[in-house]
């Protein structure tokens, strides 16, 4: 399959673990960094294009709250924002139908899933649960599997889990494959996003190999970070992962999605990630089916930039409704 063709939208069922493929993965860090550093100097979007791209970015957002002090009420507020992420007067000025602009998903801890499902009923916005011992992923495997099942039962249609980094660092690909396979089975119909916690994997080659094994095991998305590691989503890591996605698509015909998460706070950064997707994977990977941002504070900056586009004046945070 060419990455520029329409993507097969059926779920990636996974393929048998191919260790030879895993071992032949090559990533040259310096060259990857060089490419990553010129993505934003080779492409840019201005004026109407910038506004349109930012609106697209809104629709790719997994609006997230992962705080110890989350409450059902707080989550309901977030869900209200998810339904109407951008002020209607701004959308009107931009000539965009309000119903076209809603976020990709709302992402919460298990305890908040039912509140979110309730609050989003009828909106078509999926609820994503971080699960399986998030963010460390080190609780006993049966409990992690059980946690996934519980979140799915509570109505989560997307499950974000973090892999055991030790399997990667120890090159125990069979263990990683089996773990992710188990998670996938527990997900049932829910989509599985595997978080690599790339800040803890040491090398880009490990990032590429781990991405590949997760996809072979049936991941629907590969995701960079929990947001809790010291280093979160960086462009070189993202580039490495999307190239793994491309390699997997080319060899198996299955399209797997990508989700950078953690540290993406500005409208400008969101454009850079979109450019990365468009350049390396093509347009199909610029839609929520195959691309999401994990973000909690990004939306606020995008709203301000959109208002600036409409009014010509720089905006302020308090002019946009809180999540």
């Amino acid at each position: 399959m060419s990455t520029s063709d329409a993507v097969v939208r059926e779920r990636n069922p996974g393929v048998p673990l191919d260790l030879e493929w895993v071992r032949e993965v090559r990533v040259n860090r310096s060259a990857v960094e060089r490419r990553a550093s010129t993505l934003g100097t080779r492409r840019t979007v201005k004026k109407a294009w910038q506004a349109a791209w930012l609106l697209r970015a809104v629709t790719l957002m997994d609006l997230t709250t992962l705080s110890g002090d989350d409450t059902p009420e707080r989550v309901r507020r977030l869900c209200a924002k998810a339904r109407r992420p951008v002020r209607e007067d701004l959308l009107e000025a931009l000539g965009v139908a309000p119903e076209a602009i809603r976020v990709g998903a709302v992402c919460v801890y298990h305890q908040m899933v039912s509140a979110a499902v309730e609050a989003l009923r009828g909106s078509g916005i999926p609820v994503a649960a971080v699960s399986a011992g998030f963010p460390h992923g080190l609780s006993p495997l049966p409990q992690r599997i059980q946690e996934i099942r519980a979140s799915v039962d509570a109505g989560a249609s997307e499950i974000d889990i973090v892999i055991t980094r030790g399997h990667v660092l120890g090159a125990d690909w069979e263990a990683l494959y089996d773990e992710v396979r188990g998670f996938r089975e527990a997900c049932g119909e829910a989509h599985l996003k595997t978080i690599l916690a790339t800040g803890e994997l040491g090398t880009l080659r490990n990032v590429a190999r781990a991405s590949l094994v997760c996809m072979m095991a049936g991941a629907d998305f590969v995701k960079t970070s929990t947001g809790k590691e010291a280093v979160n989503a960086t462009l070189p890591v993202g580039l490495t992962m999307v190239r793994a996605v491309r390699a997997y698509a080319e060899r198996t015909d299955w399209a797997v999605g990508f989700k950078p998460a953690g540290g993406i706070r500005t409208a400008k950064e969101s454009l850079l990630w979109l450019i990365l997707m468009k350049e390396e994977l093509g347009d199909p990977w610029t839609h929520p089916e195959l691309f999401r941002f994990g973000a909690s504070s990004l939306l606020g900056d995008i709203e301000r930039q959109l208002e600036h586009h409409v009014t010509g004046r720089y905006s302020a945070a308090h002019r946009h409704p809180l999540a």
Binding site: R26, R43, W49
Partner: protein, 801 residues
């Protein structure tokens, strides 16, 4: 549907043009017509012939520029000459302050310079803004530092004087900086001739430099075409050096034009650089590497990676990836910040690219271009991938200077090296492999001045750039680049004109020198020494050798063209192995040679005395020859390269590599010491030498070959061809498989050697009729000889897992 709603759906890119207003404003401030910049001011254009400077992206005129004449060049050279003593007298710190000010000025005016460059040349603004202009500033900073350090780091060296510099149209401003920065740092003043297509940024730079306080006359810019202004500059007797970047064809004509003039010359010429991809490379990164290699500046790059050599197992996959990548390249208005590729500089270049690609197609190559259309206005050529190219085909051999890459395959590393080196050029190479053993094995084997491992087209002021073979000689950047702009202070060494006295061979009756009644010595037949064997000259004829009193002292073989040919073949065969030996091993052999030479000291001293008539002087020469061998044995493992501090996460290794096969024409003044003074540095650094012994006492050389034989010098490393210089030297100087030639002799002979060298643009080092003080170790041995015996290869090795 609103525009935003439509773009929201398609997620297309839109235009993002940089404003050209300030650049146009600058042109308007000069009335849209620019004169030369001489002695701190623009010259008037009234009544002068002007040519249009066109914007390649539109074909429309930007401004008119004066066409320089010989008188203009005169004026500029006179200005530079008048400014030079004052500029040198400023001292290192004074010049450093000026260069620092230029660097700061370039940074302050960076956007204006970038936009004007893009308007004039057609390259994408991304490149002029992110690569050209920052590198210009970097070169000025770096050389501000060399100006500051000159006395400490280049003691005993002086500027050359007035330097004429001719730069091409592909990097107008960057090539200016590469040339102007080291020239000014070392105390020279400059007359620069920009390319006819692209003069504008040089004029802007000169104006900005003047505003930054550069004294009048230190930097002059003369516009015009090569045939008139360029030729006048090259021919001008008031110019001490010509530095040229451009085509090999023009470089060759400059070598010819400057031959015998005493002008120093550095040439940075064309290339057909290999881009070698091994099966264990990171292929996605390779693809971006190809983008940087051949679609950077529309492929109008002398070091463009224009030949992809891919290992068979991955070639097909790589080709598929390349095609997919080519579809996503964007070409258009170079001022637009979303384009990868801009316009070709001029219609004549566009036509040349088209014609060469068509020729390649006719020869059977498959030509592939992406499905998108090039802009209708302006001069554009799409990125082009050619496969099925035979190494002998046009696309694999000819420098296209456009966005066209030829792809070929190889099976083994040895074959990759063979294909990589199957070119007359030797500017750059790129090697892609995740196996450092393989990459570092191949890097020294590729004949190229710059080798990039897992990267390509990376430049920095701290690293020298320049070619092997017909890609020219001389380096720009780093310490190695400074030598092009300085000379040794001769006053310190008392160099003098060589005497023209050369004993001429004439028929003499054998035995005339012998006293009556003495027992005749055992007859000896002096032969040539080729490939480690004593051989009779091809023509089987001899030349008499006379002592100072005219008496016959012996005969030497009269070598011919064919003997030179045989000697070069033997040297070529021996050189690779000799160069690959450890420096320690070469040192040992040179020490052993010294030991064996000393063992025959008495005999050789007596021989020397026959020629000089001075036994004490002969003994001193003998001792000096042994000492000289010791010196280069000592140097062999100490002529280290450097690790340049380039501002990337890299090591940049500047390696001193042998030239290869070097011809050496020995001086008449010191028959033994002169020969040893050439032989030893050449051999110590891994060259194989073809030496033409002195005319005065060639018998000494033939005595020497027995010493060579007993000293474990491998056959072919040193070859001695005696005979008439008039017969031998032209053949040696013109030989296309000789990489360099040293000539110690008359001014006329020096000129002839320089003229004859143009075939393969071999490096020449000629004495121009000045004698060395061979007995002085200070003068006639050491670093200068070692520099002339070697060329610097810079190997860029990024690291990080």
């Amino acid at each position: 549907m609103s525009k935003v709603a439509e773009i929201f759906r398609t997620l297309e890119y839109g235009p993002a043009p940089e404003s050209a207003e300030r650049a146009h404003e600058w042109l308007r401030s000069h009335g849209g017509a620019l004169g030369h910049f001489i002695h701190g001011a623009f010259t008037p254009v009234e009544g002068r012939e002007l040519s249009e400077s066109l914007n390649p992206a539109t074909g429309r005129p930007l401004a008119r520029v004066i066409r320089g004449s010989a008188e203009d060049v005169d004026q500029a050279v006179a200005s530079a000459r008048s400014a030079q003593p004052g500029w040198w007298a400023l001292g290192p710190h004074g010049r450093a302050r000026h260069l620092y000010a230029l660097a700061r000025q370039v940074q302050r005016q960076g956007r204006l310079l970038a936009v004007l460059e893009t308007l004039d040349n057609g390259k994408p603004l991304r490149e002029s803004r992110d690569l050209d202009v920052p590198l210009v500033a970097r070169h000025l900073y770096h050389h501000a530092g060399w100006a500051q350090l000159m006395e400490a780091e280049l003691p005993g060296y002086r500027p050359l004087g007035v330097v004429g510099q001719i730069v091409p149209w592909n990097f107008p401003l960057l090539m200016l900086a590469w040339k102007v920065a080291p020239a000014l740092a070392m105390g020279n003043t400059v007359v620069l001739k920009p390319a006819g297509f692209t003069s504008l940024t040089a004029l802007l730079f000169a104006e900005l430099a003047h505003e930054a306080g550069l004294p009048p006359g230190v930097l002059n810019v003369v516009c015009g075409d090569g045939a008139l202004a360029g030729a006048a500059l090259v021919a001008h007797p008031g110019v001490d050096k010509i530095a040229f970047t451009g085509s090999t064809e023009v470089g060759r004509s400059l070598r010819e034009a400057t031959a015998g003039s005493g002008k120093r010359l550095s040439l940075e010429l064309g290339g057909k650089s290999p881009f070698i991809v091994f099966e264990d490379a990171d292929q996605d990164s390779v693809v971006e590497g190809v983008v940087d290699a051949i679609w950077f500046n529309q492929g109008q790059v002398c070091c463009a990676g224009s030949r992809i050599l891919a290992q068979e197992g991955i070639a097909e996959a790589l080709e598929r990836k390349l095609r997919a990548r080519m579809e996503t390249l964007r070409m258009g208005d170079p001022l637009d910040k979303t384009v990868d590729m801009g316009a070709i500089v001029a219609p004549v270049q566009l036509e040349r690219i088209r014609a060469l690609v068509e020729q390649g197609r006719a020869e059977g190559a498959q030509v592939w271009q992406p499905s998108w259309a090039v802009p209708g206005e302006g001069w554009f050529y799409p990125p082009t991938l050619c496969t099925g190219c035979a190494p002998a085909g046009t696309l694999a051999q000819v420098e296209i200077f456009g966005p066209v890459v030829a792809m070929m395959t190889f099976r083994t590393p040895a074959e990759a090296v063979e294909l990589a080196n199957d070119t007359r050029y030797g500017l750059a190479a790129s090697i892609w492999s995740e196996n450092i053993n393989l990459a570092l094995d191949v890097a020294p084997k590729v004949k190229a001045g710059t080798v990039w491992i897992n990267c390509t087209n990376v430049f920095d002021a701290a690293s020298g750039f320049g070619g092997y073979r017909e890609s020219g000689f001389g380096r720009e950047g780093g310490l190695e680049g400074l030598w092009e702009y300085v000379r040794r202070d001769d006053a310190a060494h008392g160099a003098k004109r060589a005497s023209a006295r050369v004993p001429r061979g004439r028929p003499v009756r054998k035995g005339a020198a012998r006293g009556a009644g003495a027992l005749p010595p055992v007859d000896r037949t002096a032969k040539l020494y080729v490939g480690g064997k004593q051989v009779r000259p091809d023509g089987d004829t001899c030349l008499p050798v006379l002592g100072p009193d005219g008496a016959l002292v012996g005969e030497v073989g009269r070598g011919s063209r064919k003997d030179v040919r045989n000697a070069v073949e033997a040297a070529r065969k021996a050189q690779a192995g000799w160069g690959a030996r450890t420096a320690h091993n070469r040192a040992q052999i040179l020490y052993y040679l010294a030991e064996n030479l000393a063992a025959r000291g008495e005999e050789l001293t007596a021989r020397l005395a026959v020629f000089s008539g001075d036994a004490r002087d002969a003994a001193a020469e003998m001792d000096a020859a042994v000492s000289r061998l010791f010196s280069y044995a000592a140097w062999a493992d100490k002529w280290d390269g450097r690790v340049h501090a380039t501002p990337h996460r890299m090591v940049t290794l500047a390696m001193n590599e042998p030239l290869g096969v070097v011809g050496g024409v020995c001086p008449d003044e010191r028959p033994l010491l002169g020969l040893v003074s050439l032989l030893a540095p050449l051999a110590a650094t891994g060259n194989a030498a073809v030496l033409v012994p002195s005319r005065t006492a060639p018998l000494l050389a033939t005595d020497l070959y027995q010493v060579l034989d007993t000293s474990d010098v491998p056959g072919g490393v040193v070859n001695l061809v005696t005979g008439l210089h008039d017969e031998l030297v032209p053949t040696l100087a013109a030989h296309d498989d000789v990489d360099g030639i040293w000539y110690f002799g008359s001014a006329e002979g020096s000129a002839a050697v320089e003229r004859a060298s143009i075939g393969n643009l071999k490096r020449t080092w000629v004495s121009r009729g000045r004698t060395m003080d061979w007995m002085s170790a200070d003068h006639a041995e050491g670093r200068e000889f070692l520099r002339e015996a070697t060329q610097v290869k810079n190997i860029w090795i990024p690291y990080g897992e």
